[in-house]
C-alpha cells in the first residue's frame, strides 16, 4: 500500500512558490471526515475506518465517503480534486461550504472556522464568499435565464433593477448576451452551464467550487468551457476548488492536483509531479494516457549543472519537454536550464529527456 496520509502528502509536496505565501490560505481543510450511516462518529479514526468500503458497510452499515482529508488552497489558486466516481469528491467539496456537515475535522475559510458558527453566518458565507457550479447545472426550470443568474442576489435581498443589471453583465461575461429572456430548457447543455457559471459569479465570491461542471457535456463543448474557465480565472483570480474525473481537464486548469480514492487523497502535487511520479498504480492508471512531453518541464526533469560543461543552448525551467525535444535531437550536448532570475539552475540532455518520457515508475 502506497497510500499516505493526506496531511503528509499535502505539506510534503507543496511547491516552493506556494509555501512562501505566509498569510493564511483561503481554504484550509484539517483532517476532514464524512461518514454516512448510523453512528458515523464511531467510525472516525477507528480501526474500521481502514477497511475496504464493502467490509465497512457490512460491519457498521456506514459508508466513509471522505476520510481524513487535509489540504490548503492559497488565494487565487486552482486546486483540482480528481478521482473515479464514488471516490468522495462531491461529498468533499460540499463539506467546504458545509452543504454537507463533516463528521469530523475543521474547514477554515480565510482562517474562520466554519464549525460551531451560526446558521446566519453560514448563510452569509454562502451568499457573499462561496459560490458553486453543479454537475447537473442546477438551473431552476421555472425562471428565465436572467432570473436564474440573479437568484443569489435575490436571496440576498438586492433590488430588482440592481440584480438584473448585474445579471446582465454576468451574461455578457460568459458570452450569453441577449439570452436572458430564454428558459433554461431552451438552451443547449453548454449554454446552460454558462448560465450556471454566470450565476456563481454574480455575487462576486472569492471562492468558486466546481463539482464536475463539464462532465455532462460533449467533448468539444467541454473544451470550450474549460478554455472559458481558464480565461475567466486569468481575469478574475478567484480561489477555486475544481472537481473532475477528467485528467486533461485537471492538467489544463489545476495549479495543484489531488488524486482521491475511496475517500482519501492518495497523491497531491503539481500536475507535473503527479504525471512524472505517480505514487501508486491507481494514479499511474490515471496518467497513463497523458502525453508526458506536454506536461513535464525542463525544471522538473533536470539534473544539477556541472561547472564548465558546454551547452547546446538555454531553456527556462517552465519549458515543456515537447519544446525541448527538437533541441536535444539536434545536439548531443546538454542544454542549460535557467531559473526565473536567469541563473543556470540545472541541465538536461538527450538521455534525461528520453528517460523522463519512457519512465513508468
Amino acid at each position: 500500500m502506497t497510500t499516505t496520509s493526506g496531511t503528509e502528502t499535502t505539506t510534503g509536496s507543496l511547491p516552493a512558490s506556494e509555501a512562501t505565501s505566509a498569510d493564511t490560505p483561503t481554504i484550509s481543510c484539517r483532517g476532514v471526515w464524512k461518514v454516512f450511516g448510523p453512528h458515523p462518529e464511531r467510525v472516525v479514526g477507528s480501526a474500521d475506518a481502514d477497511l475496504p468500503r464493502a467490509e465497512l458497510e457490512a460491519r457498521t452499515g456506514c459508508v466513509a465517503a471522505v476520510r481524513d482529508v487535509s489540504f490548503d488552497v492559497a488565494a487565487g489558486r486552482v486546486f483540482v480534486v480528481m478521482g473515479l466516481s464514488g471516490s468522495g469528491k462531491s461529498t468533499l467539496v460540499r463539506c467546504l461550504s458545509r452543504l454537507i456537515e463533516p463528521t469530523a475535522g475543521d474547514v477554515l475559510i480565510d482562517g474562520d472556522d466554519t464549525a460551531h458558527c451560526s446558521a446566519q453566518w453560514l448563510r452569509d458565507l454562502r451568499r457573499d464568499r462561496v459560490s458553486m457550479v453543479f454537475q447537473h447545472f442546477g438551473l431552476l426550470p421555472h425562471r428565465r435565464v436572467l432570473d436564474n443568474v440573479a437568484f443569489g442576489l435575490e436571496v440576498q435581498g438586492k433590488s430588482k433593477s440592481e440584480r438584473h443589471a448585474r445579471a446582465g453583465d454576468m451574461l455578457d461575461l460568459v458570452g450569453l448576451s441577449g439570452l436572458g429572456d430564454s428558459y433554461p430548457d431552451e438552451l443547449s447543455g453548454g449554454m446552460q452551464q454558462r448560465v450556471g457559471l454566470a450565476r456563481a459569479l454574480a455575487n462576486d465570491p472569492e471562492i468558486l467550487l466546481f463539482d464536475e461542471p463539464f462532465s455532462a457535456l460533449d467533448p468539444l463543448i467541454r473544451r470550450d468551457m474549460q478554455d472559458e474557465v481558464a480565461r475567466l480565472q486569468r481575469e478574475l483570480k478567484k480561489t477555486v476548488v475544481f472537481i473532475t474525473h477528467d485528467l486533461h481537464e485537471a492538467l489544463k486548469l489545476g495549479d495543484e492536483i489531488a488524486i482521491m480514492r475511496d475517500g482519501r487523497f492518495v497523491q497531491v502535487g503539481t500536475p507535473e509531479a503527479v504525471v512524472a511520479h505517480p505514487v501508486d498504480d491507481y494514479v499511474r492508471d490515471f496518467v497513463r494516457d497523458v502525453p508526458r512531453e506536454h506536461v513535464l518541464t525542463a525544471g522538473g526533469i533536470m539534473r544539477a549543472p556541472v561547472d564548465g560543461e558546454e551547452t547546446a543552448g538555454t531553456v527556462t525551467e517552465t519549458t515543456l519537454v515537447s519544446d525541448l525535444l527538437p533541441i536535444v535531437v539536434e545536439s548531443e550536448r546538454p542544454v542549460a536550464v535557467l531559473d526565473g532570475d536567469g541563473r543556470v539552475s540545472g541541465a538536461v540532455d538527450r538521455l534525461i529527456v528520453l528517460r523522463a518520457l519512457a519512465e513508468d515508475d
Partner: protein, 657 residues
C-alpha cells in the same frame, strides 16, 4: 409457527367465534346516537361547538348561491370564459363556456348552482387546510409519519361511515355535506401537495442552500414554483374528489345534482339520472378548465407577450364583458335560464334502456343474453369462492391470509392483515340474513375478488394498447376522465336494466367504476419505459411481442401493481352500492344500518369494509414496492409510499326511501 399459534387461538375462541370475544362497538355507537338525539338542543357541545360551525357553513353556501343567482346565467358564462381565458387560454375558455351553457340546456340549472356553491365552499376549505398541512408534511417527515394512519383511515373509510355521524352532529342540509366533503378530499389534498413538494429534486433544493437561501426562501423561490405543475394537478384532483362526494350529499338532504340523479334512480327513470349525470360531467369540465393552467409553452409565450398595458386592457375588457353580460341577464327574463333552450337526452335514453331490457335479457344467440351471463357468473364463480371462504373455520382463513401476506409482503404486512381480520371477528352485530359480520365479510370478499379479477382482465389489454399507441391513449382519455367523474350509481341504472337485481349488477358497476385507474396506471407504466431500453431490445433483434413481454411488461410491473391496488380500493369503495342492488353482505348491512337508523350495525359493517381494505391495500402496496420497475431500485432508501389519488371516490348513494 403461525399454524401453532392459530390452533391455540382456535382452542380459546372456538368455532364459531366465542360470544365473549366481542368489542361491543355496535351497542356503544347506538347509545352515543341516542345521547346525541336527546341532547342536541341544549348541550354546550352543540350550542357552542357544532351549531355555530353548521350555521357558518350554511351561510357560506347560501352566500355563494346568492352570488351565483345575482350574476345570472349570461353573467356566469362570461365570468367563466374570462377567468378560464386568463388562466388556461382561449380554447379552454370556450369549452368551459359551452359546458356552462349545456348545464342550462339540460334543464338542471338550479340544482347545478347548488352543487357549484357547495363545491366552492368545500374546495376553499379543503385547500385552506390541505396546502399548509401538505407543506408541513413535506418538510417534517415526523409529522408525515404521525398523520399517515389518520389520513389512511380517512381515505379508506367508506363515505357512508362518516356521512351519518356528520348528520348527527351538524343536522341535515348543507353543513354535513360540506364537512363530509372536506373529510373526504382533505387527505388527497395533503398527500398530493406533500408529494408534489417532495418531487422537487434534492439537487435543486441544494442550489438554494448553496446560495445562502433561508428555509422560507427555499420554499417560496424554489420548492413551490418548481412543484407548481404537480400542485395544480393536485388541486385539480382534489376538486374531482370533492365533486364526487358533493353529489352524494343528496343523501343527507343537500339538494343539487345528486338529488336529481337519486330521484331518477328511485323511479328507475334512467333518462333523468342521465341528464343530471351529464350536468355533473359538465360541472367537472368547467372546474377543470378553470384550474388547469396553460401548457408549458403557451404559458411562456403568454408571459413574454404580456406587457403591463396589455394586461390592463385585458383586465378592463374582461370586467366590462362580465358586467354587460350580467346586465343583459337581468333584463332578459330576470336571469332564469330560458326553457326554450333544451337539449335534454331524457327520452332517447329511456327508449334505449327499454329496448335493451326487452331484447337483451334472454335469447341472444351464443351468449344467451344478460340473464344467462349473470347466472353463469353466480354459479361458477361467485358461489364457489364464497362457499369456500365462509365454510372454512375463521381461524383457517386468517392463517391462510396471514401466511400469504408473510411470504409475499413481509412480517409487518402480515401482522397488519392478521390484526385487521381479528378485529372483524370481534364484531358481533347480526349481519344481513342474520349471519354474523364475519360471514358477510367473507361474502363481500368473494365479490370484491371477482370484480377485481374481471377489472384487471379488461384493464390490462386496454392499458397495454394505450401504453403502446399514443393515438389510442389520446382517444380514450376523455372517456376515462368522464368515467371517473360520473357518480357510480349512474352506471347502476342501465346495469339493473340489463341484469335485474343481484350480486352480478353490483359487480358490473364496480368493474366499470374501477376500470380507469387500472387502465391508466398500466398505460403509464408502459409509456414510462425509457425509449433507449426498448431500442436496445430491438437492436438485439427482439420481436414486438418479445419487447412487450420481456421489456415493457416487467418494467411496467410496478405501475401495474399500483393499478391493481387502486382497482381494489375503488371496488371496495362501491361495495355499499352493490349492496343497494342485491349485492348483499356488508353493503346491505351499511345501507340497512343507515336507513333504519341502526347506526351500530352500519358502523360495524363499515369497520369490516375498512379491515378488508387494510388487508388488500397493504398487501398489494407491498407487492408494488417490492417490484423493480421504471420507478427505479428501492435499495437503501425508504420506498416511496404509493400515494392515493383516485380511491374511494364518489361512493355510494343510499336509498332513503
Amino acid at each position: 409457527m403461525i399454524a401453532a399459534f392459530a390452533v391455540l387461538l382456535a382452542r380459546v375462541w372456538g368455532n364459531p367465534i366465542a360470544t365473549w370475544w366481542n368489542f361491543r362497538i355496535g351497542p356503544w355507537i347506538d347509545s352515543v346516537e341516542e345521547w346525541i338525539i336527546l341532547h342536541r338542543g341544549n348541550h354546550w357541545l352543540f350550542r357552542w361547538g357544532f351549531d355555530p360551525i353548521a350555521r357558518w357553513l350554511h351561510n357560506l353556501v347560501q352566500w355563494d348561491l346568492n352570488a351565483l343567482h345575482f350574476v345570472t346565467w349570461p353573467g356566469l358564462i362570461a365570468l367563466v370564459v374570462v377567468v378560464a381565458a386568463r388562466v388556461s387560454g382561449i380554447r379552454a375558455a370556450l369549452t368551459a363556456g359551452a359546458a356552462v351553457f349545456v348545464i342550462g340546456g339540460l334543464g338542471v340549472w338550479e340544482p347545478a348552482m347548488v352543487t357549484v356553491a357547495l363545491m366552492l365552499v368545500s374546495v376553499a376549505i379543503v385547500l385552506a387546510l390541505g396546502l399548509p398541512l401538505g407543506i408541513l408534511s413535506a418538510r417534517r417527515p415526523a409529522f408525515e409519519r404521525r398523520t399517515r394512519v389518520v389520513l389512511d383511515a380517512m381515505q379508506v373509510m367508506p363515505a357512508f361511515c362518516y356521512l351519518l355521524p356528520c348528520v348527527l352532529l351538524f343536522d341535515i342540509g348543507y353543513p354535513p355535506a360540506v364537512v363530509a366533503t372536506v373529510i373526504f378530499a382533505l387527505p388527497a389534498a395533503i398527500r398530493l401537495t406533500s408529494h408534489g413538494l417532495r418531487g422537487v429534486p434534492d439537487r435543486l433544493m441544494e442550489v438554494g442552500t448553496a446560495h445562502g437561501a433561508t428555509a422560507r426562501q427555499s420554499l417560496l423561490k424554489i420548492q413551490l414554483p418548481v412543484a407548481r405543475p404537480a400542485l395544480l394537478l393536485g388541486i385539480n384532483q382534489t376538486i374531482n374528489l370533492a365533486l364526487g362526494i358533493v353529489v352524494i350529499a343528496a343523501l343527507v338532504g343537500a339538494e343539487g345534482l345528486g338529488q336529481e340523479v337519486l330521484a331518477g334512480l328511485q323511479h328507475l327513470d334512467v333518462g333523468q339520472a342521465f341528464d343530471a349525470g351529464l350536468a355533473i360531467v359538465a360541472v367537472a369540465i368547467v372546474l377543470d378548465r378553470l384550474t388547469a393552467g396553460r401548457p408549458l409553452r403557451a404559458a411562456r409565450k403568454f408571459r413574454r407577450d404580456r406587457t403591463p398595458e396589455r394586461a390592463r386592457i385585458e383586465m378592463l375588457a374582461g370586467a366590462g364583458a362580465v358586467v354587460i353580460a350580467i346586465v343583459a341577464g337581468k333584463l332578459w327574463s330576470s336571469g332564469a335560464f330560458p326553457t326554450s333552450i333544451d337539449f335534454s337526452l331524457h327520452d332517447p335514453v329511456n327508449r334505449v334502456v327499454e329496448w335493451c331490457r326487452d331484447n337483451l335479457r334472454t335469447g341472444v344467440p351464443i351468449v344467451g343474453g344478460t340473464g344467462s351471463i349473470s347466472d353463469f357468473t353466480v354459479i361458477h364463480l361467485l358461489d364457489p369462492i364464497r362457499d369456500f371462504l365462509t365454510q372454512r373455520p375463521w381461524w383457517e382463513v386468517i392463517c391462510g391470509v396471514t401466511a400469504v401476506a408473510w411470504i409475499t409482503a413481509g412480517r409487518r404486512v402480515a401482522a397488519a392483515c392478521a390484526i385487521a381480520l381479528l378485529v372483524v371477528t370481534g364484531l358481533h352485530a347480526d349481519g344481513s340474513a342474520g349471519g354474523s359480520i364475519w360471514i358477510d365479510t367473507m361474502d363481500t370478499l368473494s365479490q370484491v375478488l371477482v370484480a377485481v379479477v374481471i377489472s384487471m382482465l379488461i384493464a390490462l389489454p386496454i392499458g397495454i394498447w394505450a401504453g403502446r399507441s399514443e393515438r389510442f391513449f389520446a382517444a380514450i382519455r376523455p372517456l376515462l376522465d368522464a368515467m371517473q367523474v360520473m357518480p357510480a350509481f349512474v352506471y347502476l341504472v342501465p346495469v339493473i336494466g340489463l341484469f335485474s337485481v343481484g350480486r352480478v349488477p353490483g359487480i358490473i358497476a364496480s368493474v366499470i367504476y374501477a376500470l380507469p385507474p387500472g387502465i391508466r396506471l398500466t398505460a403509464l407504466g408502459i409509456r414510462e419505459v425509457p425509449p433507449e431500453t426498448i431500442e436496445a431490445a430491438r437492436s438485439n433483434g427482439a420481436t414486438k411481442f418479445q419487447i412487450l413481454t420481456k421489456v415493457q411488461l416487467p418494467l411496467a410491473l410496478r405501475s401495474i401493481m399500483l393499478g391493481l391496488n387502486q382497482t381494489i380500493l375503488m371496488v371496495l369503495s362501491v361495495v355499499v352500492i352493490a349492496g343497494l342492488v342485491g349485492g348483499g353482505a356488508l353493503g346491505v348491512d351499511v345501507v340497512y344500518g343507515l336507513t333504519k337508523s341502526e347506526l351500530g350495525l352500519g358502523v360495524e359493517a363499515g369497520i369490516a369494509i375498512v379491515a378488508l381494505a387494510v388487508v388488500l391495500d397493504r398487501m398489494t402496496q407491498a407487492w408494488a414496492v417490492g417490484v423493480r420497475g421504471v420507478a427505479g431500485s428501492t435499495r437503501l432508501r425508504t420506498p416511496p409510499r404509493a400515494i392515493r389519488i383516485g380511491k374511494t371516490k364518489l361512493l355510494d348513494q343510499l336509498e332513503t326511501a
